[in-house]
Amino acid sequence: MNLDFSQIVPYIPFILEGIWVTLKFVIISIILGFILGTILALCKISRIKGLNWFGDLYTSIFRGTPLILQLMLIYFAIPQLTGYDISPFLSSILAFGLNSSAYVSEIIRAGIQAVDKGQTEAAQALGVPYRLMMKDLILPQALKNILPALMNEFITLTKESAIVSTIGYLDLMRRAQVVGADTYRNFEPLIFVGFIYWILVMVLTLAGKRFERRLKYSD
């Protein structure tokens, strides 16, 4: 065994900077995925056939092809097609946000459909318009039921974010590789960022549990 963590000590600030680099696009991707996913879910349960069709097609494409392929298509194909030199940051947000929304939309759709139909009828009987009913009455109830599934999706996204290293985005993963190449030692930097990913996911898990408990008040 030839382990020497002291070798990577000079690189620790460099690696730690990667936390924010990773988090920055993960957070934006999660928000984008959640908003788009909600809209897609509403498309899927809409009475308008065209919207159902669009929601299903979208999901089948983004769930049916590899995420890394989507990422590379966005990063390499957009400049080729349009001449616009898209940054790794923007490519990553787009790929992860669009991909995640496909999964989130399925989770939210199931959550909305699990809310008692009587809730919709009660809202209609009071004259509450569709938009308000969804926003104030149905979605909050759906959200409570689907929180564990949503947290799962956010955790997956956080971990899978490591594949942006393949387009040269200097995230945690990429930084581990850079340090590995610099020091000819791969084990230590990889273990180190592995530990950081684990911490990030733990924080997310605990935050999710707390949030879940807070929503339990009405039971």
């Binding site: 009587g118 009828e121 009660a122 209609q124 009987a125 009071l126 004259g127 109830q141 008040y217 009405s218």
Partner: protein, 240 residues
């Protein structure tokens, strides 16, 4: 106040309501009774268009609800509805259940909506429950909150869809008492119920439905003492 003309409702090939016509006057309390599956609830739900009639017309206050140009959401503000299974909003407190629609739909201020909500809670005997959540209430309490929630919109007409059928026997009375008070206050009410004693005592008129057909219509005395059709006689023998 309500006029129903040649109402038909079909679910697929199954005809649930067949050519129903009737009126309900302002201030009148009408009970709709009949065997299960006779179309009572469907009929009630056609009155605020929770079910869209297949054919026929429904007017509320001279406004035709079945006209496609009618803003049905606006019209429903005047029609309160109470369901068998309450359908309170479980994530809102009792007070918020009462104030939500007046504030969001009618644009009332929070102060006014809460003031009225507290008056209504006092009226249904639940003043101490305004901060409680629906899941912490008993069935009877939930149904009283549901009645107060419907009244908070200041409707001109109240529809009750088997309001006591899901309740434990000892809670039926507290709900019926609230409804009696409401009837005495002059509210126009249409009630689908299996509580024959209550229907007899409170109603101005009984409507008897069987297999989607309006078979009999008349005063409670008339209907309960001298039912005209054999179908109604059979039914009353079984339930009384």
């Amino acid at each position: 106040m309500i006029k129903v003309e040649n109402l038909y409702k079909q679910f697929g090939n199954h005809e649930v309501l067949k050519n129903i016509s009737t009126n309900i006057d302002s201030g009148e309390v009408v009970s709709i009774i009949g065997p299960s599956g006779s179309g009572k609830s469907t009929f009630l739900r056609c009155l605020n268009l929770l079910e869209t009639p297949t054919k026929g017309k429904v007017w509320i206050n001279n406004q035709e609800l079945t006209d496609s140009k009618t803003n049905i959401m606006k019209a429903r503000e005047q029609i309160g509805m109470v369901f068998q299974h309450f359908y309170l909003f479980p994530h809102l407190s009792v007070l918020d259940n009462l104030t939500y629609a007046p504030m969001k739909v009618k644009g009332e201020s929070r102060e006014l909506a809460e003031k009225k909500a507290r008056e209504l809670l006092a009226r249904v005997g639940l003043t101490d429950k305004e901060k409680a959540f629906p899941n912490n209430l008993s069935g009877g309490q939930k149904q009283r909150v549901a009645i107060a929630r419907a009244l908070a919109m200041e409707p001109k007409l109240m529809l009750f869809d088997e309001p006591t059928s899901a309740l434990d026997p000892e809670m039926v009375k507290e709900v019926l008492n609230v409804m009696k008070d409401l009837a005495q206050s002059g509210m126009t009410m249409a009630i689908v119920t299996h509580e024959m004693g209550f229907a007899r005592e409170v109603s101005d008129r009984i409507i008897f439905l069987d297999d989607g057909v309006l078979l009999e219509e008349g005063s409670p005395e008339e209907f309960f003492n001298n039912p005209r059709t054999s179908r109604a006689k059979d039914f009353l023998e079984k339930v009384l």
